[in-house]
Symmetry: C2
Subunit: 108 residues, 2 copies
Amino acid sequence: MTAAMQLTNVLKTLADPTRRAVFERIIREGEVAATGLVQGSKVSQPAVSQHLRALRDAGLVAERREGRHIHYRVAPKGLGPLIDWLGHYETFWAERFANLEKLLKESE
Amino acid sequence: MTAAMQLTNVLKTLADPTRRAVFERIIREGEVAATGLVQGSKVSQPAVSQHLRALRDAGLVAERREGRHIHYRVAPKGLGPLIDWLGHYETFWAERFANLEKLLKESE
DNA sequence: CAATCGTATAAGTATTCGCTTATATATTCG
DNA sequence: CGAATATATAAGCGAATACTTATACGATTG
């Protein structure tokens, strides 16, 4: 799998708002079982399960089985393709947009 | 339009490899007419035109008319929603993944 | 073992997407 | 004005997407 394909996967996976909401909840809660993610979600359990699979396939989350429960956590390396891509073009934006580092600081 | 919706637009727009390739060419070439982008593209002129519209609608490129030609250039602010989103969750990743700034430096 | 709980998969469907060909809308040139 | 150039829009189509309900699988419990 090329870097471009990985980036495409990450972008496609994060582009869906429902799936991104699941991802953000995992970020905030640290480690959550799928049940916990279904609670408070607008969509059904299978839909959440499908989103979790997509997130895992994209390398954005990892799972840990504990009895009947499967706990999901963020796999920060999954964002690597996105970070790399932004960094790769940073020099082109720097000329007219300061630079990404500065932006990251300002956005906090 | 909420911030989440803008982010969704940016992610969706960049998620298509053909469209992202158009965007990357605009980045590299600085300012290009649509004709130049059609040359060397795998897809037809209308397809390129549709991608350019999507990029403009997402705020990722700006255009400047000059006679019959329309020159496209990157609108760096268009990446704002993406940068902001990454920055917003930076603190959550920092614990286990150093921080985005460091990553950006390393990725050069 | 049987019932139950947590999660995944299967199958079907409506919507969205990216592409094509054909046509329309500027803008310039002779 | 009429022809040519640069770009956009229209219409249609096949593939992908995100959801649903129904069912299967895996692990625990009584």
